[in-house]
């Protein structure tokens, strides 16, 4: 079952399986460590369509909600 990162709930862990949207977006995400095959944990989600804080390889990153919708994950 695939989901978007935006659907995850706090503290859940999933594996990134794909990045949607254009190449520029993909490059940017990858350079921040958000890549296919990586395990991601959702640290927090902020209300009113606010950003999400995710953790990959022990490092936290804040990303916007719209970006999270374009990151495809597989629940573990």
């Amino acid at each position: 079952m695939t989901h978007s990162l935006a659907e995850m709930h706090q503290n859940q862990v999933a594996r990134i399986t794909g990045l949607a949207r254009g190449r520029e977006f993909q490059s940017k995400m990858r350079s921040l460590g958000i890549r296919e095959g990586k395990n991601v944990r959702l640290l927090s989600r902020h209300p009113f369509q606010g950003p999400l804080v995710i953790e990959i390889d022990g490092r936290a990153t804040t990303i916007g909600r719209g970006m999270a919708h374009n990151i495809i994950v597989e629940y573990l």
Binding site: K28, S31, L32, P47, G50, P51, V53, T62, I63, G64
Partner: protein, 568 residues
């Protein structure tokens, strides 16, 4: 001269390495994007002088914002690249490394934050990494200076390893293979500190923490500022008073006394109102403003180096997004509260023209600098806290309303936030003190010459009657719309030169507390000081700056008139 350029991802410690190599002082902080422009410095190696350039951090050579553009441009100038890598975050950092290697320039790698990596249970076989990449790799801990000597020695062996360009996908495959081979991570269980750290970034717990932190920061600034004034600066100026009086007596009445000492009140110098170069010209910047500048920058340095700023940016992101920016907008705002000039430079960390325009315009309209804030506290404080809150409240409302409107009407995109959150670090006392000193020194170098110039100009223009004429000309606005005495015009105009001086000039006019509130609010809004204005022209371009200036003046007219109607 050989050019050595430091390149690397944001927040890997390039500026710290730069300081170590050159002995020159640059500002470094624990958040991505604290360097937005390049700095040049010099280093002596084996009898020859070489130039070291500290470039802003970038994730790749395809820039996504202005600061990264600067970095990509600096690469072209380089004779030697020092790629600074965060050893605790090797995998992400290697992408830029591979790109840099492909550029075909001689290069060495500083594997920085080496001590941190060891503490976190990360082991890297750097000799193997060196073999695989074909360039020198030196482990460093720039904060303590470890490994810097070896790094400099490695410059000798720097090699260019020309490789045929590979695609992005290929690079990530290579990186995967490299890290698998040379890096071992022993994951530890989350400690109590980790739990507290993650609490500060969750909305339910993070917002109360943020309010607490900001309140504490404000309280500390006031405490330090007031103590410095009461126990250090006021006693100092009392010691100086007899000397100033002696100079005054020695000069005797005349133009020179007017200029140097200024007006006497009951035969005595009044440091705030006399308006002489050696009285008010020294007292305003040193006796009234400096203590708060010291207090503010000390507190800011602790906040910056702890790594709290990116958390604050995350928590405030939703708010700033409504105003057309994103959470990173907190950085220009905070820096701007110290001085609008670094604030205006910090708008470079925003991706689009729209975001930069809004961020810069709001900064110039509604963010008073610490020099001005200190003076506002000094002149409104005696009337009671509620008048200060009235000014602060008005400016906050103006910031929000103007932001909402600009977001609606300025064309362009407002991309979402995308920000790495660095680990918390204990701020180093030495680094914090050094950074505070650098900024305070910057203030003294800027403020005193401008203040002297300001006082000189006021005195001369008064003498020739120009200010009286201008006051008459603008009286319909000052008196008619804002309900201020005609003489307040001079002070308002002087705000273009120095806002702290301008606030001081309002004092002798004998205005009511409400009039003072209106005057200082308008003074904040109507235009930035000349130093900020110059930076804004450079950052926004003439056209956008003209638009921004029109907005400032319009806002000042609207807010000044409204305050006059509501409060009187």
């Amino acid at each position: 001269m050989k050019q050595i350029v430091l390149m690397g991802n944001p927040n890997v410690g390039k500026s710290v390495v730069f300081s170590r190599l050159t002995g020159a002082d640059v500002i470094s902080s624990n958040y991505p994007g604290s360097t937005v422009d390049y700095t040049r410095g010099r280093m002596c190696r084996g009898g020859t002088v070489e130039e070291i350039i500290d470039a802003p951090g970038t994730y790749s050579l395809t820039p996504t914002n202005k600061a990264e553009e600067v970095a990509a441009k600096m690469l072209e100038e380089a004779d030697l690249i020092v790629n600074v890598i965060d050893a605790t975050n090797l995998e992400r950092n290697l992408f830029l490394t591979l790109e840099l290697i492909e550029s075909g320039k001689p290069m060495v790698i500083a594997l920085n934050m080496w001590d941190d990596a060891m503490k976190r249970g990360i082991t890297i076989d750097y000799e193997q990494l060196q073999k695989t990449l074909g360039v020198q790799v030196v482990p460093t801990t720039a904060l303590s200076g470890e490994g810097i000597h070896c790094l400099v020695e490695s410059f000798e062996h720097a090699r260019a390893d020309r490789r045929s360009p590979t695609t992005e996908e290929d690079k990530w495959v290579t990186i995967g293979a490299i890290t698998k081979e040379i890096q071992q991570i022993i994951r530890r269980h989350p400690t109590l500190a980790d739990r507290i750290a993650s609490a500060s970034i969750r909305p339910m717990t993070g917002v109360p923490v943020a309010i607490g932190v900001l309140f504490l920061a404000f309280w500390v600034v006031r405490l330090i500022g007031e103590s410095l004034i009461a126990y250090v600066f006021e006693p100092l100026f009392e010691l100086y008073r007899p000397l100033a009086m002696a100079i005054s007596d020695w000069l005797g009445p005349g133009f020179l006394q007017e200029l140097l000492i200024g007006q006497l009140f009951d035969g005595q110098i009044d440091y705030v109102q006399s308006m002489g170069l050696l009285t008010t010209g020294l007292f305003v910047p040193i006796g009234m403003v400096l203590p708060y500048i010291v207090a503010f920058y000390l507190t800011l340095a602790i906040l910056e180096d702890s790594g709290y700023m990116p958390r604050l940016a995350t928590l405030t992101d939703t708010f700033f997004h409504r105003l057309g920016m994103h959470g990173h907008g907190i950085i220009p705002l905070f820096l701007g509260l110290g001085c609008n000039v670094p604030g205006a430079l910090a708008v470079r960390c925003m991706e689009t023209r729209k975001q930069r325009f809004i961020s810069a315009t709001l900064l110039a309209i509604a963010v008073p600098c610490m020099a001005q804030i200190a003076m506002i506290f000094a002149i409104l404080g005696p009337y009671g806290m509620k008048y200060i809150l009235l000014v602060v409240g008005t400016l906050i409302i103006v910031y929000i309303v103007a932001g909402l409107l600009l977001n609606r009407f300025v064309k362009g995109e407002s991309p979402e936030i995308c920000l790495e959150i660095p680990p918390y670090r204990m701020p180093h006392a030495r680094t914090v003190l050094k950074k505070t000193w650098m900024r305070v020194r910057g203030f003294l170098g800027e403020a005193i010459p401008y203040l002297f110039l300001g006082i000189l100009i006021v005195n001369i223009l008064y003498l020739v009657g120009f200010l009286q004429w201008l006051g008459m000309l603008l009286a319909p606005i000052t008196t008619g719309l804002f309900g201020l005495p005609q003489d307040a015009t001079t002070a308002l105009l002087m705000g273009f030169l120095r806002k702290d001086l301008a606030v001081g000039m309002l004092l002798p006019l004998g205005m009511t507390a409400i009039q003072l509130v209106i005057a200082v609010t308008v003074l904040t809004i109507y235009f930035p000081c000349v130093a900020t204005f110059a930076v804004l022209i450079r950052e926004l371009g003439l056209r956008d700056m003209a638009k921004s200036a029109a907005l400032m003046i319009a806002t000042a007219l609207i807010v000044g008139t409204s305050l006059n109607l509501i409060l009187n």
